[in-house]
Symmetry: C2
Subunit: 207 residues, 2 copies
């Protein structure tokens, strides 16, 4: 069996590892890390503890691997990549918000953002978790900040906006909208909140 893209051998061992990571991601997304049950993960995958503890030394390592190998790439593909080279970050972000709002039955309203959920739960409890999560979060902020700076030189964004602080706020407000919508369980509130964030983005536009 060969991986067509990488043209490298795909060991079944890597497959089971990936299976464990995906199941762990889902379980953690549903119940949080501390309440996530290894037994449930194994039941979902049909694997056993032997497999799990062969690939991961303990539960914490599994959780950190989920952050690095599942959450981070997903976030990068969904949120980083669309802003990677834009000179019109405001337009790009508005399009992003519109796309997110257009989803019907967004899972983010039901279960929230996997990254945000873990940050809220684990940051005060476990320092190494906090560090890994913070790296992902700050990478996100950095992507937005860089896009805003390019927007400033390109004339889309006002010169007086503080790129870093504004980027931090934008990501924070977005996560806030997701979190509150998760609580109200209302897609309408979710869309309305995203629209308000869009209004804020408009205030950054060079007149």
């Amino acid at each position: 069996m060969y991986d067509e893209a990488m043209n490298a051998p795909v060991k079944t061992s890597d497959l089971t590892r990936q299976t464990l990571l995906e199941a762990a991601f889902a379980e953690i997304h549903r119940n949080g890390f501390q309440a996530a049950s290894l037994t449930q993960i194994l039941a979902d995958t049909g694997l056993t503890k032997g497999a799990l503890y062969h690939h991961f030394p303990d539960k914490k390592a599994l959780g950190l691997a989920v952050v690095e190998e599942v959450i981070r790439p997903r976030l990068a593909a969904m949120m980083f990549e669309p802003l990677a080279d834009t000179r019109q970050p405001l337009a790009a972000m508005q399009a992003l918000l519109a796309a997110k709002a257009a989803e019907d039955d967004p899972m983010v309203v039901t279960l929230g953002c996997p990254l945000n959920n873990l940050m809220q739960e684990m940051s005060p409890v476990d320092e190494s978790f906090r560090q890994r999560l913070n790296e992902v979060f700050e990478a996100w902020v950095a992507v937005v900040a860089a896009a805003l700076k390019r927007g400033k030189t390109a004339g889309e964004v006002r010169r007086d906006v503080d790129a870093e602080a504004t980027a931090f706020f934008i990501v924070s407000a977005l996560e806030g909208c997701v979190g509150m919508s998760k609580n109200t369980q209302s897609v309408a509130a979710y869309r309305s909140c995203l629209a308000q964030l869009g209004r804020f983005l408009d205030t950054l536009r060079e007149p």
Copy 2:
């Protein structure tokens, strides 16, 4: 022993109940509800399970009582009351943000907002929790929305702002700022994020 304000007898029973609630609040604030240990709460208070299960039928009832009798009043005193009758909600909220930013070593950066923490953790997991928490949250939004409406008639707030949607966003963004700052564990980031929220509030001002 008498309560001076109410002029009603203060039973020691009510005192131990209050002790349990405060300890439970602290434990839940530190570890979340599901990870909160009843044993730890009892160790903190010096009480025993007999006392706990005399006052509360089970752990869930204790958690809900914490929401109703600790979190809600605290939030009301801190966030609702300053906006209760203002005709200049923007000025009042700016003052509120400034006051929060002025705190040195705000616990909210270390452990986050108790309400938001519980919402993020419990909303997808337990429906009755979600409902109680949502009542508190929507009461908060309603207070902000009412203040914004008064600001519109008083001429401080632009006529074209959607009071409900804007209020929802303001609270969401605030909780987002708190949550992200908890993750970065940075007071500076916290203050910067609040300042950006202040910038958004300025855009609502009637020119």
